[in-house]
């Protein structure tokens, strides 16, 4: 009888733990980053060390031969692809592709350096409002836009706050571009940055937010 109670208790605890694990896993964003410049295993060490600055990073793996780094990060922190690229750069290497499988099921992907691979016949031009202040904002907004597959060019006017973007409509959309810009901290009319991302912008970039 005693044994039955112990085994039953163990099974219940084990089942509870596995449920907790599944729930925790559900709340993790899965990142896949393709990195160039990893010429030796010490380079991979430098890269991982830099990413360990993200305190809650977990399950970091680096494949030397493919240059692919994978890791998970709590979805509540909403780690942006731009921050991932910046961290790779701070480690002294180059990110060429970042993919995020968000815990909510959405997938974000960037493929840098794809300008020029657009279908000219599908090109459209759109202009829309993007909040920002300074030259750093301009660089961030344009770089983020141009990192989206299908975007041919992006130009943000600091005075008018208008972003003019040319993109291949078969590959992306105005809404997608606005969403991606919001993810790096800049509000547009239809996409708002989350407070944490806005708060992490440098002081000079923290524009006055509209309600």
């Amino acid at each position: 009888m005693k044994n039955i109670i112990i085994i039953t208790t163990a099974i219940i605890i084990s089942a509870m733990n596995s449920n907790i694990a599944i729930a925790q896993n559900d709340q993790l964003d899965q990142f896949t980053v393709k990195v160039e410049g990893l010429g030796c295993p010490f380079c991979a060490y430098g890269l991982e060390k830099k990413f360990n600055e993200f305190k809650e990073i977990d399950e970091v793996k680096i494949e030397m031969e493919t240059g692919v780094m994978t890791f998970s990060y709590p979805s509540t922190e909403r780690l942006t692809m731009e921050k991932v690229e910046q961290q790779v750069d701070a480690a002294g290497y180059t990110a060429v592709h970042v993919k995020v499988n968000r815990a909510d099921g959405s997938v974000e992907e960037t493929s840098l350096g794809q300008v020029g691979e657009v279908d000219e016949s599908q090109l459209v031009e759109e202009s829309f409002y993007v909040a920002g202040n300074c030259g750093m904002c301009k660089a961030r907004i344009e770089k983020t836009s141009e990192s989206i597959a299908g975007v041919a060019s992006a130009n943000w006017n600091k005075k008018s706050k208008i972003l003019t973007v040319k993109f291949d409509k078969s590959q992306t959309s105005k809404e997608n571009i606005e969403q991606r810009i919001a993810e790096v901290g800049h509000d547009t009319k239809s996409a708002k940055a989350i407070d944490a991302t806005y708060g992490s912008l440098p002081g000079c970039c923290q524009y006055e937010r509209r309600n």
């Binding site: 410049g37 030796c40 295993p41 830099k50 240059g67 480690a91």
Partner: protein, 258 residues
Amino acid sequence: MKKIIIWTMLFVGLIQNSAKSQGPPITGDKPIMLGSDSWIVKTLTEIRNTEGGNFSAAPLMLHYLPTANALIGIHIPLVNTNFEGRERNQFLGDVELLAKYQFYRKDGMGKTFRLVVKTLQMLPTGKQLALEGISMGTYQSYTGFIAGYESLKYGISNEIGYSFQPTGEMDDLRYKLSFGLPLMKPSYPVKKVNLYFEYQSSWFVSINEYLLLYAQGVQYAKGQFTIEAAIQFPLIQTSSQQRLERNYSVFLGSRYIF
């Protein structure tokens, strides 16, 4: 004829090694840096046997990378001298201050090419023994450029620079060429064994003396630790001070990165 044979051997060695090399050199320098806010503590003891006695320099080297493309460092050497027929001596050698800045980077998949400018300021804290690389006891200022290509299969590091001394007597134009050969498949976490083939040429401009050294080394790295050993010997040396003519040097080193 002797020179022709030496140069032919060198050339053949370079061709063979350049086809399969990888990793940071032992006696040379490398252009790859390990990310901002990193530290490296290392030692590289040189035990030199010359016609006039045995000498050693055991530096404690501390490097810090404030950014991904800049490095500053300090080298504090402990020197031992044992001139033939004289008492053994131990003292602080020439303290060195190092700064490196990487100004060009071209990355590819599993490979990278980088250019670095480097300066090394040697303070006259040692004794005036004219033992280049061990104890000069005079101020020296070195400026050089490092160009390096490193991949999972190939790794070549070149360094060219000029060392200036206020008196001008020991000014020298240096060139270093380093190759490595990985003996294990590259993997992460770090676990590797590499062989190294390194050449160092010094032309002492004012006194018109020339020195060409060849070093063969092996390195074992696991995790953040590395241990390395090399033996270096002269291929060509024209020296007016026969007692300081080199026979060979043994290098023993270790590194820890964090």
